[in-house]
């Protein structure tokens, strides 16, 4: 945890409410996000119990599996989910704009621009918590290898027509969510945790109710509570029947709910169903069908009562986030999400098989490289977009801001001398600058590079190097050495081709400048071999075995459900 986050959390404890950790919104939010609040069955990973899903906060679709261990009912749930999610996704997939992409020409090997379709916008999916993202991934994995009767008439348990397709989309969303800064699939707890610092641990922040209680204690049903009190209430308070007042955001449910309410209700449903099957005539069957419907309605009401508070909390979180203006670079990152969305759409249209169960060596390495690059990009962009984030980087010695106190023109020693002006900056920050370290500032959205020359000469009374400041950033020393740091930088680029720098390209005396020690833009990584060219050190090419689409897991004797 960075020092500034620790400070913000301490301040949250003292003031009793969460403190801003950002001044702008660092993630793109869609105008029509699809919110998905799933619940799962205890003890049975991947068996959904129900969900609220939809784009209208006042009219969510309630989907319920009255007997989660019944495969047919589970498939019916997934088919219903596909009927809601897929039309939403496909609406975005159909609306495209023209864009350019650089590709390698297979014949000449040269990089050429080609015109391609780019989806004008992408469908955004929001779940309450990180566990919800894992559940999306799990649903995707459980569905994408299923075979429909159309694909394979022999398959013993054919899936409803659109279920495998939903599995492929959810898998793509789950995988994209691992890319830092991506916004296709967002967890509300992560979003809120990025923008506010609470007075509790990050682990506790994963409870959506408690997190919201810190950010907006006034929303708590009991007025006048501090953030800590409201969070405690959200986590622990129970009604007279022993049920949590604020149900967990799921997908796991509270055991007290499972044992005292859900299990008896499911049992009643099972009995009603057995009774219906045993009905001997039409009249009896009608009566028993009524009992079954009532039992099912009861379970629906239970699931609704446990998902609705979370549903409302997610939308309240969206309201809070929408109050923040979007960060300058969020749109650019969303464009990358649109490319990702479009490329998945194209793979489906091209009839490609579902994503393999495991990545091959080359794909795994490519994904890791992409994510590391996106992580660095995200960290740089968030700092550039947000002075509060930049303050954190300044506090940790990775950036410094200050006033230009002197500019001296100088030139490089070459046949055609280029401008290399020396800029003296006075800063209160304490950057960790090494000899000839490179620093960067944003000049019209592009990074300008400068080189650290050294502290200013001591005759101006600054930076004499003999002070007694302990330089530890804790503020206990007198700070005379580092506190009034005066640094000399040599500007290296972005000054045009002429002998004199272009107007506005060199800071002037009195300018306020902010330099970072980290780069603003990321270089592309090296090209890895094609999977068919996987070298001997990594097991050689995946071979023919990998070319056959994988079948779903075979039934085993342990599969009792």
């Amino acid at each position: 945890m960075s020092l500034i986050t620790t400070l913000a959390r301490l301040e949250a404890v003292r003031t009793g409410r969460a403190q801003p950790a950002a001044t702008v919104r660092h993630r793109h939010l869609s105008d029509r996000p699809l919110v998905f609040v799933p619940l799962t069955t205890a003890g049975e990973a991947g068996a959904p119990l129900g969900a609220l899903v939809g784009t209208d906060r006042d009219a969510p679709h309630l989907l319920v599996v009255p007997q989660p261990r019944d495969r047919d009912l589970r498939f019916a749930f997934l088919a219903d989910l596909a009927d809601i999610v897929l039309p939403h996704v496909e609406a975005y997939a159909e609306s495209v704009e023209a864009a350019e992409r650089t590709e390698t020409d297979p014949e000449t090997g040269k990089r050429v621009k080609v015109e391609v379709d780019l989806c004008a916008d992408a469908a955004q999916l929001v779940v309450p918590s990180r566990a919800g993202i894992d559940f999306v991934r799990l649903l995707g994995r459980s569905m994408r290898f299923r075979r429909t009767a159309e694909q394979d008439p022999e398959t013993p348990h054919p899936a409803p027509p659109r279920v495998p397709l939903l599995g492929r989309w959810l898998t793509h969303y789950g995988e994209r969510a691992r890319v830092p800064g991506s916004s296709l699939l967002l967890a509300m707890t992560d979003l809120l945790g990025r923008h506010w610092a609470t007075g509790q641990s990050t682990l506790e922040d994963q409870h959506l109710g408690a997190l919201l209680a810190w950010i907006a204690p006034e929303f708590s049903p009991e007025p006048g509570l501090t953030g800590a009190e409201a969070a405690r209430r959200a986590e622990l308070a129970r009604d007279a029947d022993g049920q949590l007042l604020c149900p967990p955001a799921g997908p796991a449910t509270d055991p007290a709910f499972d044992n005292r309410l859900l299990a008896p209700a499911i049992e009643r449903y099972d009995r009603a169903r057995t009774a219906l099957a045993a009905a001997e005539d039409g009249l009896e069957a009608d009566e028993r069908l009524g009992a079954l419907t009532a039992a099912e309605r009861e379970i629906r009401a239970l699931v609704d009562s446990r998902t609705r508070p979370t549903w409302d909390a997610v939308w309240r979180g969206l309201d809070l986030l929408r109050e923040l203006p979007e960060g300058a670079h969020a749109e650019e990152r969303w464009t990358r999400d649109r490319w990702s969305f479009t490329s998945h759409r194209d793979r489906i249209l091209a009839g490609e098989p579902p994503q393999p169960r495991r990545d091959d060596a080359v794909t795994a390495a490519n994904k890791l490289a992409t994510r590391e690059r996106e992580q660095a990009r995200l960290e740089a962009q968030e700092a550039l977009d947000d002075p509060l984030v930049m303050a954190g980087r300044r506090l940790s010695g990775e950036a410094f801001a200050g006033e230009v106190v002197d500019v001296v023109m100088a030139y490089s020693e070459s046949k055609r001398p280029s401008p290399r002006p020396l800029v003296t900056v006075r800063t209160d920050d304490r950057p960790h600058l090494g000899e000839r370290a490179k620093v960067y500032r944003s000049l019209g959205g592009k990074p300008q590079t400068a080189e650290y020359v050294g502290p200013a000469a001591s005759d101006d009374g600054f930076g004499d190097g003999t002070g007694t400041g302990d330089g530890d950033g804790t503020g206990t020393g007198d700070g005379t050495r580092d506190g009034d740091g005066v640094l000399v930088l040599r500007i290296m680029d972005k000054m045009g081709r002429g002998k004199e720098p272009e107007a506005g390209s060199v800071p002037e005396k009195g300018d306020l400048v902010c330099f970072t020690l980290f780069e603003h833009e990321q270089r592309g990584g090296a090209k890895l071999p094609d999977p068919e060219q996987t070298p001997w050190t990594h097991g050689g090419p995946p071979g023919a075995a990998a070319a056959v689409p994988e079948a779903a897991d075979a039934q085993t004797e342990e599969d009792v459900l």
Partner: protein, 451 residues
């Protein structure tokens, strides 16, 4: 047999020179005449890894096999180029470098047989071409190199080996398994357990796919003194023990200026005699850049310089002065290094090397001063418990290592046992950092001086 028994004092007839020569001969034989595509060499700290790499490179070049050398940092590449040129000034060597400003050590410009270029094509025909893994990853060739040497292979990530492995037919992989593992800046649990997990080390992936490759080990550390080899071997290499090339009494450290009785002076004297010193500060939770600990580190360094130290070793009959160039300070975090640098500058000792464990890998000094990674911390994270971090910090010295630490680390360790989830299919690394930390602390406790 326990690690304790394995690392027992050398029998009288143990000849470190002969043992090391035997190991080297076997490695070179497998490299030059073996049938396998790869040879793996594990090397403990200071066991002559660079010497081995240089020798293997020269012999491969002599045998007329075009050779590429992959190292991990530019400094390592430049160091190898200089060593090669020193051994054989006529060998045509190519230094492939990046197109950044100052891409290589200026000392290379003085070497006539070394050609430097940012393009691999310009270096075709050189007997040996050296570069970093990052640069090699951008190279494409029609005809792969007959042979490669991969240096610091345990610090290389699997994905960067994937990017360069198509460039060579066979390779010698050399590295130190006890040092810091490579890391990724994003989560990679998704691939844990896969043989080609891109975030694991290159050697892990290589051996998972090619379990039959010959594996060798260098048995003697020439850097570590007898006082340190035993501890480092027991704590960090319990299943692959090594010995020091020198015996107790072969090296000594003496000071012209007597002790003034202060904590720093007493710990210096303790370390001069025993090879280890622990300067213990009172227990307290502190920020990472603990001002008192930083000052204590700086004070020890200042006194080391002021007391006219003389280091006697097998290298020369006359004692060598303990200068700033022969001392280094090691920390866990970059901000700690920056704070120590600043404190040393205040004491007029700014020329002493101060760096993090990651950057001190592969370097050697007479005396090191270490700010303990767990000093003053309220918790012990996986980062701070990483075995390799402590191993690097405790194995950079030829004479003595002085650790500065707050009291209470043993209790902290007991409060924070390793709780990393075990992933199916991954090799559990032994010893774990928790155990190694305890082993080192227990040893240091015998050389404790209160500040």
């Amino acid at each position: 047999m326990t690690a304790e028994a394995l690392a027992a004092p050398a029998p009288a007839d143990f000849d470190p020179g002969a043992e090391a020569a035997r190991a080297t001969a076997a490695i070179l034989h497998d490299t030059l005449h073996g049938t396998e595509r790869g040879v793996v060499v594990d090397s403990p700290p200071g066991a002559g890894k660079s010497t081995l790499v240089v020798r293997a490179a020269l012999e491969l070049a002599e045998a007329g096999r075009p050779l590429m050398v992959v190292a991990q940092t530019n400094a390592q590449v430049d160091d190898l180029v200089l060593r090669l040129a020193e051994k054989n000034p006529d060998l045509p060597v190519g230094r492939l470098h990046s197109s950044d400003a100052d891409p290589y050590d200026k000392a290379l410009d003085a070497l006539e047989s070394v050609r430097k270029s940012a393009k691999a094509a310009d270096l075709a025909g050189q007997a040996v071409v050296l570069s970093t893994a990052a640069k090699w990853a951008h190279v494409t060739v029609d005809e792969p190199w007959r042979h490669a040497i991969v240096d610091e292979a345990y610090q290389m990530r699997s994905d960067s080996l994937l990017a360069v492995a198509g460039l060579f037919e066979r390779a010698l992989f050399v590295g130190d398994p006890g040092q810091l593992d490579p890391f990724a800046t994003v989560g990679s649990e998704q691939w844990a357990g896969l043989a080609y997990d891109p975030s694991s080390s290159a050697v892990t992936t290589l051996l998972a796919h090619n379990p039959g490759l010959p594996q060798h080990r260098l048995p003697v550390s020439w850097r570590l003194p007898a006082s340190a080899a035993r501890l480092v071997s027991d704590a960090f290499y319990p299943y692959t023990p090594f010995r020091s090339g020198t015996d107790h009494g072969d090296r000594s450290l003496a000071f012209g200026v007597p002790s003034d009785g202060s904590g720093p002076d007493r710990v210096i004297d303790e370390a001069a005699v025993s090879g280890w010193g622990l300067l213990e500060l009172p227990a307290r939770h502190t920020p990472r850049t603990d001002p008192e600990a930083v000052r204590a580190v700086a004070a020890v360094v200042r006194r080391l310089l002021d007391r006219e130290g003389r280091a006697t070793s097998e290298r020369s009959p006359d004692p060598a002065p303990l200068t700033a160039a022969r001392i280094a300070v090691g920390t866990a975090h970059r901000d700690q290094a920056a704070a120590v640098r600043s404190a040393l500058a205040d004491l007029g000792a700014g020329e002493v090397t101060v760096d993090t464990a990651n950057r001190l890998q592969g370097r050697e000094y007479d005396v090191t001063v270490v700010l303990h990674p767990l000093s003053g911390r309220p918790d012990a994270t996986a980062f701070h418990l990483e075995t390799g971090r402590l191993c690097v910090l405790a194995s950079r010295h030829r004479h003595a290592c002085i650790v500065v630490c707050r009291e209470g680390v043993a209790g902290l360790l007991d409060d924070y046992p390793s709780t990393e989830p075990v992933q199916l299919g991954t090799l559990v690394k032994f010893p774990d950092g928790w155990e190694a930390n305890h082993a080192v602390l227990a040893h240091l406790a015998e050389h404790r001086v209160s500040a």
